[in-house]
Amino acid sequence: MKVNVHALYNNDNTLINSIKIIQSHNYDIHEVYSPFPIHNLTEILKLKKTNLSFLSFIYGLLGFFIACILTWYVMIWDWPQNIGGKPSFSWIKNMPSFIPVIFEFTIFFSAHFMCISYLIQCKLYPGCMPKNPDSRTTDNMFLIEIHTEKNTEKLIDLLKIHGAIEVSIKKNVK
C-alpha cells in the first residue's frame, strides 16, 4: 500500500539538498510545493520543458494570418476605397499601412492564448480548490510530497536528519 509522506522545510537550500538525498535513496518525489520559484529545481526534478513558448509562437502566427485576412477582406475585397488619392485595390501595395494592426493582432493572440493554455495546463480556474496540501507553502515553507510503499520509518528519519522540520504521513494513496 502506498502512503503519502509530507516533509516541510523552512529553507530552499536545505530543500534542494534534501531532494538530492531522497532521490539517491530511490524514493519517488511526487510533488514539491514552494512559495516562490526555486532556481535549479526544474533540473533536479528532471521536469519536462514546457511547450508554452512554442504554443505562443503558433498563436502569434494565427494572429498574424487573421490580421492579414481581415485587412485584405475589409480594405481590398469587401469595400475598396480611394482615400486621399491612395486606392485600396492591392493588399501588398497597401500592406505597409496594415503593419501596425497586423503587429498588434500577433501580440494579442500570442499573449492571450498562451495565458489561457497556461491556465488549462496548470488546471487553474476561478474558484478552483487550493492545490497546496499545507497553507504554509504559500508563505515561508517548502513541502516535498513523497509517494512510497517502502519503509516509512526509515524515510522519516532520513527527512528529519536532512533538515525537514516537520514530517507527516497524510493519507493512503491508491
Binding site: 529553507n11 530552499d12 537550500n13 534542494i16 510533488e31 514539491v32 510545493y33 514552494s34 512559495p35 516562490f36 520559484p37 526555486i38 532556481h39 535549479n40 529545481l41 526544474t42 521536469l47 514546457t50 508554452l52 513558448s53 505562443s56 481581415l70 475589409v74 480594405m75 469587401d78 469595400w79 482615400i83 491612395k86 499601412s97 501596425p100 494592426v101 503587429f103 498588434e104 493582432f105 501580440i107 494579442f108 500570442s110 499573449a111 492571450h112 498562451m114 495565458c115 497556461y118 491556465l119 495546463q121 496548470c122 488546471k123 487553474l124 480556474y125 476561478p126 474558484g127 478552483c128 480548490m129 487550493p130 492545490k131 497546496n132 497553507s135 507553502t137 504559500t138 508563505d139 515561508n140
Partner: protein
C-alpha cells in the same frame, strides 16, 4: 550549490533583516488592517475630483463638444494632450516589469506591481479622452471591425487613429493579463492567510486554486518571460503609433520622422516620474520603507535622467530643423525662437524649465538619492511633460499654413473639469488597489532573500 547569491559590491535591495515570513506579513498588513485617516482623506478628495469630472463629461455629452474651448483651427487640444500624457504615464509600468525582467534587474521587484497597476489605471484614463472626443460615445464600437447594420461599413485600416484603437486596446489587455498572471501566487498567499470568510472566498476565486507546485512555477517563469518579451515591443509600438497620429499628418511641426523615438523616450520619462510620485506616497502610507529604498529611487532617477536627455536631444533636433530649413512656417513650431516669444511663451518656458533644467539636478548624488527631492522633481517632470504635449499640439495648430486662421486656445471649465476628473478616477483606482491587492510581488521578492544568511541585508 546555493540558490542565492549575494553580491559583495551591490547594496541590498531589502532592508531590515527580513525573513520570508516578514515579507508575507508586510504585504498582508495593508489588506488585513483598516484604512488609516490619510487613506480616507485621499480617497474623499479623489471622489470629489472624479464627481466633478463625471459632471463635466455628462455636460459635454448632453450638450456637445462646443462646450470645450476648441475653435475651427484648434479642433483638438486639451483632450488629446491629456490622452497622450496618460498613455505616456502608462508606459513605465510595463517597462519596469517587462524590460527590466528581461535584463534580470532585481531592483524592479519592489516596485513592479505598483508600476503595472499604474499602467492599467493610466491607460483607462487615456482611453476616455478619444471616446468622449468622438461626441457620440455611444457609437464608440464603430471603430472596431465588426459586422453592423449599415452594410459594408468598415473602419479605415490605413488611418493612424485606427492603429491607436488596436495599439491601446492590445496594450491594455496584454498589460492586464501580465499583471494578473503575476498576482495569482500572491492572491493564493492572501487566501491562505486571511480569516474573514467573505474575503477568503474572493481571494479563493482570484487565486484560481494556485498551489505553487514545481511544474506550476516552471510554467509561471516561462510565461512571465514570454509575456515580458511580448510586452517590450508593445511598449515601443504603442507610443510610436500614438506619435503616428501626428507625424503622418501634414501639419508643420508634427510631420516629423523623429516623433516615434522621441515620443517613446518622453513616455518613459514621464512614466517613471509618475512611478516615483506614486511610490513616494505608497512607501509612507503602507510602511514599505524597507522595500522601496534609496537604491530604488536612485535607479529610477538614473533612467529619468537618461530618457530626459534623449528627449532633450529630440528638442534640439526639432529646433535645428526649424532653424535650418528656412521654412517660414517651421519657425512657428513648438520648439523655435518664435514659440519662446509668442502668445504661448509661458507654456514653452514651463516645458524648458520642467523638462530640461530641473531634471539636471539629478546629476547630484545627494539629490538623486533624496526621497523628498526625487518626489518634487518627479512632480515637476509630470507637469513639464503635460506641457510638452500641450506645446506640440496647440502651438503647431495655432499657427497653421493659413495666417488668416491663426488663433489661440483657452480651455473651458469643462476641459479642466474632465482632466481633473480623470486624475480623481486614477487615484480612486490606485487607492482601492493598495487596499485590496498585494502592492509588492511578494513571491518574486522572496527569491532574492538568502535564508542561510540572516544578516545578508545588514550591510
Amino acid at each position: 550549490m546555493l540558490n542565492h547569491y549575494d553580491s559583495p559590491i551591490r547594496q541590498p535591495l531589502v532592508l531590515g533583516k527580513k525573513t520570508f515570513k516578514n515579507i508575507t506579513n508586510d504585504i498582508l498588513n495593508p489588506i488585513k488592517n483598516k484604512a488609516g485617516n490619510l487613506w480616507w482623506i485621499s480617497f474623499s478628495i479623489s471622489i470629489l475630483a472624479f464627481l466633478w469630472g463625471v459632471g463635466c463629461i455628462f455636460y459635454t455629452i448632453s450638450t456637445g463638444i462646443g462646450v470645450w474651448g476648441l475653435n475651427k483651427t484648434i479642433n483638438w487640444a486639451w483632450d488629446i494632450t491629456n490622452f497622450v500624457w496618460w498613455v505616456g504615464i502608462g508606459h513605465a509600468g510595463t517597462l519596469i516589469s517587462a524590460v527590466l525582467l528581461l535584463f534580470r534587474q532585481k531592483w524592479r521587484l519592489s516596485i513592479n506591481r505598483s508600476a503595472e497597476a499604474m499602467t492599467i489605471f493610466a491607460v483607462i484614463q487615456a482611453g476616455l479622452f478619444p471616446i468622449i472626443h468622438m461626441g457620440r460615445p455611444w457609437n464608440a464600437h464603430w471603430v472596431l471591425p465588426i459586422p453592423n447594420q449599415f452594410g459594408s461599413l468598415w473602419p479605415n485600416f490605413n488611418s493612424p487613429l485606427l492603429w491607436d484603437v488596436f495599439a491601446i486596446s492590445t496594450y491594455f489587455s496584454v498589460s492586464t493579463v501580465f499583471w494578473f498572471m503575476g498576482l495569482i501566487p500572491d492572491f493564493a498567499m492572501i487566501r491562505d492567510r486571511i480569516s474573514d470568510p467573505f474575503q477568503k472566498k474572493i481571494y479563493s476565486i482570484l487565486s484560481f486554486g494556485w498551489g505553487g507546485t514545481s511544474k506550476d512555477w516552471q510554467r509561471f517563469e516561462e510565461i512571465s518571460l514570454i509575456l515580458a518579451g511580448l510586452c517590450t515591443p508593445l511598449v515601443f509600438s504603442v507610443h510610436t503609433i500614438v506619435s503616428f497620429d501626428f507625424s503622418t499628418s501634414v501639419i508643420k511641426g508634427w510631420h516629423s520622422t523623429i516623433f516615434p523615438p522621441y515620443f517613446v523616450a518622453g513616455a518613459i520619462f514621464s512614466g517613471f516620474a509618475m512611478v516615483q510620485t506614486l511610490l513616494g506616497v505608497a512607501r509612507k502610507v503602507l510602511y514599505l520603507e524597507n522595500y522601496i529604498t534609496r537604491n530604488h529611487i536612485e535607479y529610477m532617477n538614473m533612467i529619468i535622467l537618461l530618457t530626459g536627455w534623449i528627449v532633450l536631444l529630440a528638442y534640439i533636433s526639432e529646433f535645428i530643423l526649424a532653424w535650418y530649413s528656412g521654412n517660414p512656417f517651421e519657425k512657428f513650431i513648438y520648439f523655435s525662437v518664435e514659440a519662446s516669444k509668442g502668445p504661448f511663451w509661458w507654456a514653452f518656458w514651463t516645458l524648458i524649465i520642467c523638462n530640461i533644467i530641473i531634471p539636471q539636478f539629478l546629476w547630484f548624488k545627494s539629490i538623486r538619492r533624496s526621497f523628498f527631492w526625487s518626489y518634487v522633481i518627479a512632480i515637476i517632470i509630470n507637469i513639464g511633460m503635460w506641457f510638452e504635449r500641450f506645446d506640440i499640439i496647440v502651438l503647431n495648430l495655432s499657427h497653421d499654413y493659413l495666417p488668416s486662421s491663426w488663433t489661440g486656445f483657452i480651455p473651458s471649465f469643462v476641459d479642466v473639469g474632465i482632466f481633473i476628473g480623470t486624475i480623481g478616477l486614477f487615484f480612486i483606482l490606485y487607492l482601492l488597489y493598495i487596499r485590496v491587492f498585494p502592492v509588492i510581488s511578494q513571491s518574486e521578492l522572496k527569491t532574492i532573500l538568502n535564508p542561510d544568511y540572516p544578516d545578508h541585508n545588514k550591510k
